[in-house]
Amino acid sequence: MLRLALLGAPNCGKSSLFNALTGGKAKVANYPGVTVEYRKGEFALPSGQEIELLDLPGVYGDCGHSMDERVALDAVRGDLDGERAPDAILFMMDASHINTHLHNVLQAKNHGLPIILVLNMMDMAARDGITIDLTALEREIGIPVISCVAVRGSGRSLLLDFLEDWGGDVTHGSAAKPDPEQIDLKDLQARARSITSNAVSRVQKAETFSQRIDNWVLHPFFGIILLFIILFVMFQAVYTWSGPAMDLIETGISLLQRGAAAILPEGLITSLVVDGVIAGVGAVLVFLPQIIILFAFILLLEASGYMARAAFLVDTLMAKVGLNGRAFIPLLSSFACAIPGIMSARTIEQERDRLTTILIAPLMTCAARWPVYFLIIGAFVPAEKVGPFSQQGLVAFGLILVGVFFALLMAAIFKRTLTKGASSGLLIELPSYKAPVFKDYLIGLWDRGMIFVNRAGRIILPASVLIWGLMSFPTHATTTAQTWAGKVGGLIEPILRPIGFNLEIAISLIPAMAAREVAVSSLATIYSIGEVDTDVKLTELIAANWTLPTALAFLAWFVFAPQCLSTFAIIRKETNSWKWPLFAFGYLFVLAYFAAGITYHTALAMGLS
């Protein structure tokens, strides 16, 4: 099959084109550094010719400064393990950036593969008054140039038409190989500039749309205030908008429980279904509306072009603790999940800076921790308003800030000890603002929702069954401590008792190694086995059974939450050693333990109960 590689600078629309052609689901967002791995997909041209397409991380030149750039260059050179080199290159470029980036395609000619230039985002270029003489460009560069709007069907038709003929030529080996260019970057740039000065003309506008917005967004003072407001509103919305949807899900779950109890014969089977499966999985699924609202905001920020601006605004802070400016984006992705976050640290050139970023990424509040926060906050913080603000939203925001604070503190400590060394700067292109592509946006939201729901099926369901089993035997047990679960939990409970954790918490923390939100489902199963009335909400059970100091200690623990096997697996993979995942686990455990302990005893001393 014909194999084509999508090469080009970050954020020029490669993944958008890839998704549109192959029906793939590569992540698309309006900031550099979204794609850090290669991805393969297939599609067929109208004529039936089959093509395999490679989506690659963005690269500026041919040096491969950072890991993600090396992945892309290795792919093109056929140096990736188990992958052959592509037959030809589709070099993509943001048409509005042709003046700055043209030398990149000249460099890419030196790969020696048949190559075409796909000038993408022609819609934006037209809007900004940029006209490009494609014939002149083609003549000067010496390779075919095709204009394209990756996000529109009509915008891709020229490219598809062209591929019909050219694809056949490449297959038969009759497609022209490009003439090699000079190697020296300075000479290439000079040549690129002389080409664009003839082929590209810009209507000088006083101020573009993006510039006008940036005067506010990047304002040294108002910009930071705006960033705070955005984050604040986001967390408030998560709490205030989710109520009705959550009530609906809760009603559904309790109907299901009652239905199951009515149909099934009295006894163990009913208990397994009602207390094990439905209570456990349901306890986490209730939080789906909150997760959806959270991601509705995050995806909007990602698609609009705001993310790179946020990186600019907080860079001073990053520099103060010695972090690389590029670390911001991996850390931000870690709010969804530390795994993609840790992987996107590949965009950081210096190994030491990359390592620092990887080590602190688990301190960002990932989506799996939200159910824990929601549960405990729901149980102990009244759903009242402080002025116009939801009190619960304020507490959640506070917990997240605590996580961020400790991430920065740890970064500062690591940079002065373990990962000492100068860190490089920011150097990031700020993309122009774009309205989100509605379809991509919905797909992104759907994907995030499905990840959450799938985890409920894949991890939480088996974990709930397991906990139910351990809690239900031996059948003559009358207290939790006498059950198998109680015996297992009893092994670690002595370690956790000094920080205020009870036996139920100890039991729930063990399966939560698989996924943090399993702590919530396990607590649901544990408490619902002992509970006759299925209509009592988990939050009410927790509120009745825990003291406030214990609940606060539990929250403090989850700010650090060392347990998550997949995080350590990815750290092991990305650092290629056992040392760093073990170290990360160790330091997170120590922090979690002390934070919980200090919180517990402070709360006790303050007389809270």
Binding site: N99, T100, K186, A192, P220, F312, T316, G325, G425, L430
Partner: protein, 84 residues
């Protein structure tokens, strides 16, 4: 005296003449992302503390960088007029 990108005020335009090669990797990086001799550069935004980082308009693109890195971009000593 050599004029550098870091010497420009907000909205002031300069022309790149050369790169400081003290850190050769840095100058390659700067070139690759889109700075070259002859380009007009205009700082548009500065960070809150010490004007760090800064964002620079070059050929229609907007690039954010720290002053430490911007220092390696050398400019023609007489600033050209701001083109309206």
């Amino acid at each position: 005296m050599i004029k550098r990108l870091t010497d420009l005020a907000k909205n002031e335009t300069g022309t790149i003449v050369d790169f400081d090669e003290t850190d050769p990797r840095l100058s390659v990086r700067l070139r690759e992302i889109g700075f070259a001799e002859g380009d007009s550069v205009t700082p548009l935004h500065f960070g809150l503390f010490g004007k760090n980082p800064m964002s620079v308009r070059v050929n229609g693109a907007l690039i954010a960088l720290r002053r430490k890195d911007a220092h390696a971009i050398l400019l023609k000593s007489i600033p050209t007029e701001v083109t309206p």
